[in-house]
Amino acid sequence: MSKSFFISKEDAFHICDKSQYKESTLWEKVKLMFRCIYCRNTRFYVSRNTKLTEAIKTSRLDCLKEHERQMLEAQLKKHLKNEV
């Protein structure tokens, strides 16, 4: 990642993605905000990405953990064998 205050669009998108998971540094956020001032594409990406994060948060989505999925898969396979 560039140490300069100016960052590329790709770097800005990457920082924005990391920010959604609270994995970006303060300096990265500052650089992203600065880019947002003069780049419409970055502003659009940040806005859409943030909306997606909000939607996921609001929906309180849940899914199976890896070990739960594996257990379910093993049971289904066992049952499938018996059925055949």
Partner: protein, 184 residues
Amino acid sequence: MSEHPINPNKWIELYSDYLFNYTITRVNDREIAKDLIQDTFFAGLKSMKNFKGEASERTWLISILKRKIIDYYRKINSTKGQAEVRMTYSNSEDHEGDWLEERVEDEGYLNAQETLENTELGDAIYDCMDKLTEKQARVFKMKTILNYETETICNELKITPSNLWVIIHRARTAMAECMEKNWL
């Protein structure tokens, strides 16, 4: 030939998360949700011959799952004393006023309308996730829904952090586009 072929070997990969999210929002218990999904898959295997292929496999599994959820609620409601509400409040003067606090609405409480909207939103998100590639969906779920650390996902899937972020970027872009079309 049926319009939608059936393939139980793909059920876990394709539908387990969708069915789990559908169930957990309705029964609010992880263990029970897992049991109901397992019962649904077993029932699906039993009645595979009856699947005409008019609806998609997922719709068919959901219809079985709905019956399982209804059966579950029938069962717990028919158990004697389960529906009884017990409230005990201390008569001690030390606890005077506590009952008021205990009756204050929980901050996390959602009304029926909000719950319905969130369920629909969850379904819309899952519909969009279905359009991602298998790897994108897996990484996106692990990172976004299960909140796994980057390192854990990289170790689990044997990918580098930069690979992970590329996958996440593509998944988020596709998800945002899909959500704009289908939800917003």
